[in-house]
């Protein structure tokens, strides 16, 4: 009855909004991984940067998402386009799990393995490629998985600043005082988050070597 009545909502719009949502999440995650993994690798090499980078990430994480959107709105180039701003904010939120897990994964490589590899004459890049990244990949993908689920959730708030996505149904439903419309945004968003979690869990299990 009421729970699935939201299917009465315009299917085409549902598809459009879902597409916008996926776009926001997809671009942000791509950026978060492209920036976060190298940053995590860098942290595993330079002790001095750790406190600064992880500290900065922590601060960003504690800012509530709506507040972060609000803080970035007045910034000249960013505030001019809501999707730019939303993507920046989403990327910042996704960075911490990715950076931290990359760093922890690499640092967690068994010390004798690392010692043997270095003693054998692997260059730092070879060490990264043949030893550190493969052994850390499970933890890194786990970080990406966490980050993706977070991003799907925060992206619903992006509609509040005009970036589109499934949150638009939620806010519209609130304005119209119509639960069906709210659910039309909330349920697909929840399903997306679940789907992303399952998919990345599957990747985590199959793509990553099991002999660790």
């Amino acid at each position: 009855m009421p729970l699935f009545a939201f299917f009465a909502v315009d299917k085409r719009q549902l598809l459009t909004l879902t597409g916008e949502h996926l776009w926001l999440v997809g671009i942000s995650m791509l950026l978060a991984v492209a920036l976060g993994v190298p940053l995590g690798i860098l942290l595993s090499r330079r002790r001095g940067l750790r406190a600064v980078v992880l500290g900065a990430n922590n601060i960003v994480q504690t800012i509530p998402s709506l507040a972060l959107f609000g803080l970035l709105l007045p910034v000249p180039w960013l505030g001019a386009r809501a999707d730019r701003l939303a993507i920046l904010a989403l990327t910042l939120y996704a960075l911490l799990p990715v950076v931290r897990n990359t760093y922890v994964g690499i640092a967690g490589v068994d010390p004798p393995v690392r010692e043997a590899a270095v003693g054998m004459g692997l260059t730092p890049w070879q060490l990264l490629w043949h030893v550190e990244l493969p052994l850390a990949s499970n933890v890194i993908v786990a970080g990406i998985r966490t980050a993706t689920v977070i991003t799907v959730g925060v992206a619903t708030i992006a509609a509040a600043i005009g970036a589109g996505g499934l949150g638009e149904f939620i806010f519209r439903g609130l304005a119209m005082v119509d639960n069906n419309v709210i659910l039309a945004g909330a349920v697909p968003a929840a399903l997306l988050a679940l789907g992303a979690d399952l998919l990345l869990g599957f990747i985590q299990r199959t793509l990553v070597r099991t002999h660790h």
Partner: protein, 257 residues
């Protein structure tokens, strides 16, 4: 500028300090001859592993020079230096995500050997350490016993056929039977290969059995270099406790007959 008949590795007035002033190695002067098996014998914390790591530049001396094949370790390109030296450690440090084959083949691969040459070398070296290729090549380290892992570690160290070999208590974590097996196989291997080996141990029996010479390290200083016979005859008061312990062990075993 290497000296084929003479010195492979040389320590010249080497000091190694950490945390400003704490000396782990002081005033080390030692010459290791090509083709010999030199045992670094000492108690836990005596500095023998530190000494070993100064050879393949996992550590660099605070003072003095370590020369490999006539050139200071700080002059060598560190990667070339390490590829020139096989390294085998107590925990083996096998790559858990690579098969035995992949573990052993890694350095030859990185050295850009031809695939066929790599394949035959892996077979050859696994044979050397007593692991039949067909049975073991596609196993993962977590599917091997402790002894088997050590053999693979040794095979990996020998894969690119380096003239020098560093071994840090490689048999320390094994049960006595396996340890004895591997010790004997190592001796056979050395007779054939005649590599220059620097072998760290705290086990006096192992030192006496495997080494051409024994360098006794105590509190970061070299207390003497002996052949097995010289060692057993020595009055050096650092050596004495070892001899006593060795004899005591023999007595205990005899008494148990």
């Amino acid at each position: 500028m290497s000296d084929p008949a003479g010195t492979a590795i040389e320590f010249v007035n080497v000091h190694y300090r950490i945390d400003g002033n704490h000396a782990l190695i002081s005033n080390l002067n030692l010459s290791i001859r090509r083709g010999e098996t030199l045992m670094l014998l000492g108690r836990s914390g005596s500095g023998k592993t530190t000494t070993l790591k100064l050879i393949n530049r996992l550590l660099a001396p605070s003072e003095g020079e370590v020369r490999v094949d006539g050139r200071s370790t700080t002059e060598w390109d560190v990667i070339r230096l390490r590829r020139h030296i096989g390294y085998s450690i107590q925990e083996a440090g096998l790559f858990p995500h690579y098969t035995v084959q992949e573990n052993v083949a890694l350095i030859p691969k990185l050295e850009a050997w031809e695939p066929r040459r790599i394949g035959s070398r892996v077979q050859e070296v696994l044979q050397l350490v007593g692991l039949p290729f067909g049975q073991f090549s596609s196993r993962y380290p977590d599917q091997l016993s402790g002894g088997q892992r050590q053999r693979v570690g040794l095979a990996r160290a020998l894969a690119a056929d380096p003239p020098l070999l560093l071994m840090d208590e490689p048999f320390g974590a094994l049960d006595p039977i396996t340890r004895s097996e591997l010790q004997h196989e190592f001796m056979e291997l050395q007779k054939r290969l005649r590599k220059t080996v620097v072998f760290v141990t705290h086990d006096v029996a192992e030192a006496l059995m495997l080494g051409d010479r024994i360098a006794l390290i105590d509190s970061g200083a070299l207390k003497g270099v002996f052949t097995a016979a010289e060692f057993l005859r020595s009055d050096n008061n650092i050596v004495k406790p070892y001899i006593d312990a060795f004899h005591a062990m023999q007595q205990t075993l005899k008494a148990g007959d």
